[in-house]
Structures are given as structure tokens and as C-alpha cells.
């Protein structure tokens, strides 16, 4: 096995192992919250589980998957060896040590602060240091992606960067901007508090810095799915990408508008000025645009494929598509979950409308559908698609892959849709046990059980996914064909410099971040809000 395959596989296996373990915890959490008697239900265990589930899914699965897929893309899309592979391994080791350190802190009950930290609740320093190491490892990945593209551009002047790599580097640049917020928060506030160097903190400032990271991080997770939409799905469907240009435009719009919008997580916070909540709400509306553009471009690409296969009439191309191919099926399922998850998101971001749903199960429904559903189903499809290149074998059948994808979709819909209803009834978040003797809460019971059933389907799907990767790929690969990405309708011979590089976008992002976050962060130093006392949770606090 060549070194690139090993580097990619190492990352993907860490990602999927964390994912599978987190699925077990997720099911137990839902069981604990339901009216059904569940084992080991104590608040300590519950919040340990929620922290583990959140950190594994939001930080480990995602970061390691993005990195592994990125290394793979850098070599296959640019058709040249990845530069600095040693540094890639260093980044991996750092991330692995960090993930292990954070896991140890969580599982030993010393870091039950959830993946969003909730200062002044303060966990063991190993928790924060562990996550710092994961982030530093990912920064190494960012640099390698940028270097790989820069070297390729020098060797290929005036040639458009292959779209898959353009998207990967867009993600890397966005990630560098994204992590600045949480890095500042951890370095200057949270870690000193955890180490006992400071005993009080400015909670408003801490939340503001965290919100800098909190929204763009979900686009960091989302990029691989969109890269697959544009550069893998049209090919799997047997067609062409409708517009390469729209892909590039969508990627840069994500960089621009995923960053200055964190306040839509803080609409209900009294310390943030209304004007800035408005501004960031408006910018959030703009970040819906690249998704709405994408759904049209990818649907048109699928229409090309379906019509090439003989589909006629307005919709005949839909059944004509090769739905037996995992990448095609996953894209379709992803778009359905994107509809519901995105719709829920439109309500969340609506400034005043947020009051109706903030911290209710509606929010839980939103991000499970959009991330756990629309994005993670594409992670599965990407893994299935690149696995033959990584392990040198073809799958003996695509049926287990399709069953796994359908199970994931059905489970996610069953689990998440009731949460919309429950959220509107007022069911709030992060509850270890509900008092089902209260008549208002009793009415929620049956739906909580429905969600639990969805969760069980998801667990089955997660286990089948791992099984597929381990045991399904047994057929010797026919020939070592180079991995190819989707072709656009017309060969891309020239793109404007602004859609072949990121100089302009970095400048615009700097301006937008200054406008959106400049005053809110400065405010903390101007008004000097009283500090809150650090509350340790690692000694039974």
C-alpha cells in the first residue's frame, strides 16, 4: 500500500471509530430521556455521554474525515504526489494524541461540559489541551493543502485548479479563519481558568469568541459533501457537471458568508447588541445562497445523466438514473434531508423566530438532519467511492452499501422529525430525565420513543457501515485505474483569477469579520462586564 493510502486510511479509521462509539452513546442518551426504564441513568453519566457524543461527532469524526479526504483529493485531483507527507503524519499523530487525551478526560468524568464548553463551567485541562492538539494537527493539514495547490499552480500557470482541490483548499482557508475564535477563547480564557491561573472570567466575551468558530465549523464539516456533489456525484450518475463555475462560486460564497454569522447562535444572549445580531442574521441569509445554487446545479447535472440514459419528458430522467450506485443514492437521500434540515435552519436564523425554538429540540432536529443526515450520508458515499483506491479491492456487491444508506436515512428521519414537533411544544435540551408525571411533558413521551427507534436504526446503519468497510471490499480490483473526478459539460479552459485563488476572498473576509465581530469583541473591553467565578466540573463541581 502506498504512503498516501496509508495516510488517508489512518485518518478515516480514526474518524469512523469515533463515530461508531458515539452512536452507542447517542442511543443510550435517547433511551435515558425516554419514559422507558434505562440502565445507568444518572446526571453524571448522561452529561458525560452527551459530551463524548458531541466531541466525537463534531470534532473527531469531522476533522479526521476532512483531513483524510483532503490528502486523497490533493494527490488524485492534482495528479502529483502530496508534498510534505511527513508533516501530514505529524499532524495525524498530534490529532490522535489530542483526541485520546480529550477522550480520557471525558470518559473519566472530568470534562462534562459538552462540546460547546459552557464557561464558566470548567473542565480538566487535559480536555482543552486535547482539543488544542486536534486543532493544531488540522492546521498542519491546512498548510499542506495550501502548499499543494500553490505548487501545482506554479507548475501549471493559467490552468484552472481542479474543482475538487479548489474546494478542499477553500475549506482549509476557511478553517484557518474559523479556528481563530476558539483558539483565542481557549488560549486566553478557558485554559488559564482550567489551569487555575485565573479564577473569574468574562462569560460574554468567551461566548462571543466561541460563536466566531461555532458557525463556520459546520461548513468545515459540510465542504466534503459539497465537493462530492460537484465532483463525484455527476460522474457516478453517468453524466456531467452542469457548471464548474457555479461550484467555484459556491465555495467562495461559503468562505465569505459562513464566517461572520456566529451571532445567530447568540440571538437570545443579552450581552450582544441588537444591531450586530441583525447584521449577522442578514449575512446568514446570504449563506443560504450557495446551497440554493448548488441544489439547482447538481439537479441539472443529474438531469443530464438521466437523459443520457434515455429518460424522457419533464421527470423521466429521475427513474432513469443509476440509483443502485451508492454515490447516486446518497446524493438523493442527502438532498431530501437537506430540505428538512435547511428548512429548520431558516426558522432558526430568523432573528425573532429564533425565540420560538432556541434551546428546544427543534435545534437538535436541525443539526442532526443537516449534519448527521445530509452531510454524513455523503461521508459514507465518499468512503465507499474511494475505498477501492485505498484498499485495492472492489466491493463484492453494492446491496449492503445501499441497505446501510437507506437505514441511515430512515433512522435519521424517524429520529429527527418528531423533534421539530417536540421543540415547538417546548421540549428543551440537555435533559437527563424528564418528569413524565407532568401532564405537559407526559404528552411528549410517545414521540420520544419514536425518536429512540430512529436512533436504533441509525446504530444498525453505523455498524453496517463499519462492517462494509472491513469485509465488503474483497474483489480484486480490475485494474489500477486512476481515480477520476466528474467532468463538466464543457472542458474548463479558463476561469477568472478570483475563482482560481483566494487572495481577494481573504481580504473580503477580513473586512466582514471586522464589521461583524469588531465592536462586539471590543465591547467586552470597553464596558468591562463583571466576571463570573470559574465552576470546576472535574472534582464533582
Amino acid at each position: 500500500m502506498r504512503s498516501l493510502e496509508r495516510l488517508t486510511l489512518a485518518h478515516l479509521w480514526v474518524a469512523f471509530a469515533a463515530f461508531a462509539i458515539a452512536c452507542f452513546f447517542g442511543v443510550w442518551q435517547m433511551w435515558a430521556r425516554s419514559p422507558l426504564p434505562a440502565p445507568f441513568v444518572t446526571p453524571d453519566n448522561y452529561f458525560l455521554a452527551v459530551t463524548e457524543h458531541g466531541v466525537s461527532m463534531a470534532f473527531v469524526l469531522t476533522t479526521f474525515f476532512v483531513m483524510g479526504f483532503g490528502y486523497f483529493t490533493a494527490e488524485t485531483a492534482l495528479e502529483r504526489p502530496l508534498p510534505g507527507k511527513t508533516f501530514g503524519w505529524i499532524g495525524f499523530i498530534l490529532g490522535l494524541i489530542g483526541a485520546a487525551m480529550a477522550s480520557y478526560a471525558i470518559l473519566s468524568g472530568r470534562a462534562s461540559v459538552l462540546y460547546t464548553f459552557y464557561p464558566p463551567l470548567t473542565a480538566s485541562p487535559y480536555f482543552y489541551l486535547g482539543l488544542v492538539l486536534v486543532i493544531v494537527g488540522s492546521w498542519i493539514w491546512c498548510v499542506l493543502m495550501i502548499v499543494a495547490m500553490a505548487q501545482w499552480k506554479r507548475a501549471n500557470p493559467n490552468v484552472p485548479v481542479p474543482l475538487a482541490m479548489f474546494g478542499t483548499v477553500a475549506n482549509a482557508i476557511m478553517w484557518l479563519w474559523t479556528t481563530a475564535g476558539v483558539a483565542a477563547e481557549v488560549l486566553f480564557i478557558v485554559l488559564p481558568a482550567s489551569l487555575g491561573l485565573i479564577h473569574t472570567i468574562d462569560v460574554g466575551l468567551t461566548r462571543t469568541l466561541f460563536s466566531w468558530t461555532l458557525h463556520p465549523i459546520v461548513y468545515f464539516w459540510l465542504f466534503p459533501a459539497y465537493i462530492a456533489f460537484y465532483t463525484m456525484a455527476p460522474k457516478a450518475a453517468g453524466g456531467r457537471l452542469y457548471s464548474d463555475l457555479m461550484g467555484r462560486l459556491s465555495f467562495v460564497l461559503f468562505i465569505l458568508y459562513s464566517l461572520p454569522v456566529g451571532f445567530h447562535h447568540l440571538f437570545m444572549d443579552p450581552q450582544e447588541p441588537a444591531g450586530f445580531k441583525f447584521l449577522q442574521m442578514f449575512l446568514t441569509l446570504l449563506v443560504t445562497v450557495p446551497t440554493l445554487l448548488t441544489i439547482f446545479t447538481i439537479t441539472a447535472s443529474f438531469e443530464i445523466a438521466g437523459r443520457l440514459r434515455g429518460g424522457r419528458g419533464l421527470f423521466g430522467w429521475i427513474p432513469a438514473l443509476p440509483w443502485e450506485r451508492p454515490m447516486v443514492l446518497a446524493t438523493g437521500l442527502s438532498f431530501v434531508m437537506l430540505f428538512f434540515g435547511g428548512g429548520g435552519g431558516l426558522v432558526n436564523m430568523g432573528y425573532g423566530l429564533n425565540a420560538m425554538v432556541h434551546n428546544t429540540s427543534w435545534v437538535t432536529a436541525h443539526f442532526h438532519l443537516i449534519f448527521g443526515g445530509a452531510v454524513v450520508v455523503m461521508y459514507f458515499a465518499i468512503a465507499y467511492e474511494i475505498w477501492p483506491r485505498l484498499v485495492g479491492h472492489e466491493p463484492s456487491s453494492s446491496m449492503p452499501q445501499r441497505i446501510q444508506l437507506w437505514l441511515w436515512f430512515l433512522g435519521m428521519m424517524t429520529m429527527s422529525l418528531p423533534w421539530h414537533w417536540l421543540g415547538l411544544q417546548g421540549q428543551w435540551r440537555r435533559v437527563a430525565q424528564f418528569d413524565y408525571s407532568n401532564p405537559i411533558i407526559a404528552a411528549w413521551g410517545p414521540w420520544v420513543v419514536v425518536s429512540l427507534i430512529g436512533g436504533l436504526l441509525l446504530l444498525a446503519s453505523a455498524l453496517l457501515f463499519v462492517w462494509n468497510l472491513l469485509f465488503l471490499y474483497r474483489k480484486p480490483e480490475a485494474a489500477r485505474l486512476p481515480f477520476r473526478f466528474a467532468l463538466p459539460v464543457h472542458p474548463v479552459t479558463h476561469v477568472p483569477a478570483s475563482l482560481n485563488g483566494f487572495g481577494l476572498w481573504n481580504v473580503l473576509v477580513a473586512f466582514l469579520m471586522l464589521a461583524a465581530f469588531g465592536w462586539p469583541i471590543a465591547q467586552a473591553f470597553v464596558i468591562e462586564a463583571p466576571h463570573a467565578v470559574v465552576h470546576r466540573v472535574d472534582r464533582g463541581g
Partner: protein
């Protein structure tokens, strides 16, 4: 650029125009709700020292709960702390403006009131202020909806919305839930 490429771009442009219209409609709905219907999240940026909350003039124990102020305005003051609301039950009149003011002496909490748009974080260092009108009478649930530690699941309060004729303040203008 070939004819086909131009045609593709034309279709993409038309779709983009449609998208912008949809986005503008949503923006309009949000602005309408904010300005015409007065639905605005709490952004009062009012600081208060969490460490001396109990010694403050406003959030001292005896001043908590619902009180009709000098000018007739109904204000309810609540302290959210690990892991209980103080007071655990509040009385508010129906169909009258009510101002809720909350503060935390320790960690981040948050509240919602079931069936209403009342929702706010309570961040130590700041006072949260929400003005609303309760229209439906009855007992509403007001849980702490933000993770605040291991006792979070048991932290909730009752909002008792009573018709105007049953809302009887005492000599000091205060109204509390009847002890059952």
C-alpha cells in the same frame, strides 16, 4: 465562450435571481416581525455583578417575583442559579405588558415559556430583560433550557397566567403564587 456555455450561465443567472427573491421574502418576514410586530430577542446589554447579586438592590431575595411598580408596570424578577429558579412559581396577569428580568449568580442558564415566544439566555454578568404580553391563562412551564451542570434536568419553574380580575397585588404591589 461557446453558445452552450453562455446558455448554461443564463439559466444559472435566472435561478440565482429566483433565489435572491426567495431570500428577500424571508428577510422581509423577519424585518416585519421585528419592527411591526415587535418580536425582538433580549439585547439590553445591562451588566450586573454575579458575585454580589444577592446584595444588589434589585435582585435581593425580598425583591424577587412579580411586583406592580409605581407607574403601574408589571415587573417580575427572577434569579436563576444552580439548580433552581427563585421564585419557583410566578404569577403574571393576562393581556397586560409584563417585563421579565433575570440574572444569574453562577453559570449560564436560559429560559423559555412553553407556548410563547419568551426565550432568553441568562448570562452571569448581565441582566436579561424580556417584555411580553401573555394571552392564554393557565400554568405554563418555564424550564432552564441551557446546560448549567448536573442538576440541569430538574431545574424548572411555573408561570401562572391569571385573568386580570384574579391578579391582586398586596400593599407593596407584590403578587405571589398561592401556597398549596
Amino acid at each position: 465562450m461557446s453558445n452552450l456555455e453562455q446558455e448554461i450561465l443564463r439559466h444559472e443567472r435566472r435561478w440565482t435571481a429566483g433565489v435572491i427573491i426567495a431570500v428577500a421574502v424571508i428577510l422581509g418576514a423577519v424585518l416585519y416581525a421585528a419592527f411591526a410586530l415587535h418580536v425582538n430577542p433580549p439585547s439590553n446589554i445591562e451588566t450586573i455583578d454575579p458575585k454580589t447579586l444577592h446584595l444588589s438592590a434589585e435582585f435581593t431575595e425580598s425583591n424577587l417575583g412579580t411586583r406592580v411598580e409605581a407607574g403601574g408596570q408589571v415587573t417580575t424578577r427572577i434569579v436563576t442559579a444552580q439548580f433552581a429558579f427563585n421564585p419557583q412559581c410566578i404569577v403574571v396577569p393576562a393581556n397586560e405588558p409584563v417585563t421579565l428580568r433575570l440574572a444569574s449568580p453562577d453559570v449560564i442558564h436560559g429560559i423559555l415559556v412553553t407556548g410563547t415566544n419568551v426565550n432568553s439566555m441568562v448570562v452571569p454578568g448581565y441582566v436579561s430583560q424580556i417584555r411580553t404580553v401573555f394571552t392564554k391563562t393557565g400554568d405554563l412551564l418555564m424550564p432552564c433550557h441551557e446546560f448549567c451542570g448536573f442538576g440541569h434536568s430538574q431545574m424548572w419553574a411555573t408561570v401562572r397566567v391569571v385573568p386580570r380580575e384574579n391578579f391582586r397585588p398586596d400593599a407593596n404591589g407584590r403578587v405571589a403564587c398561592e401556597k398549596s
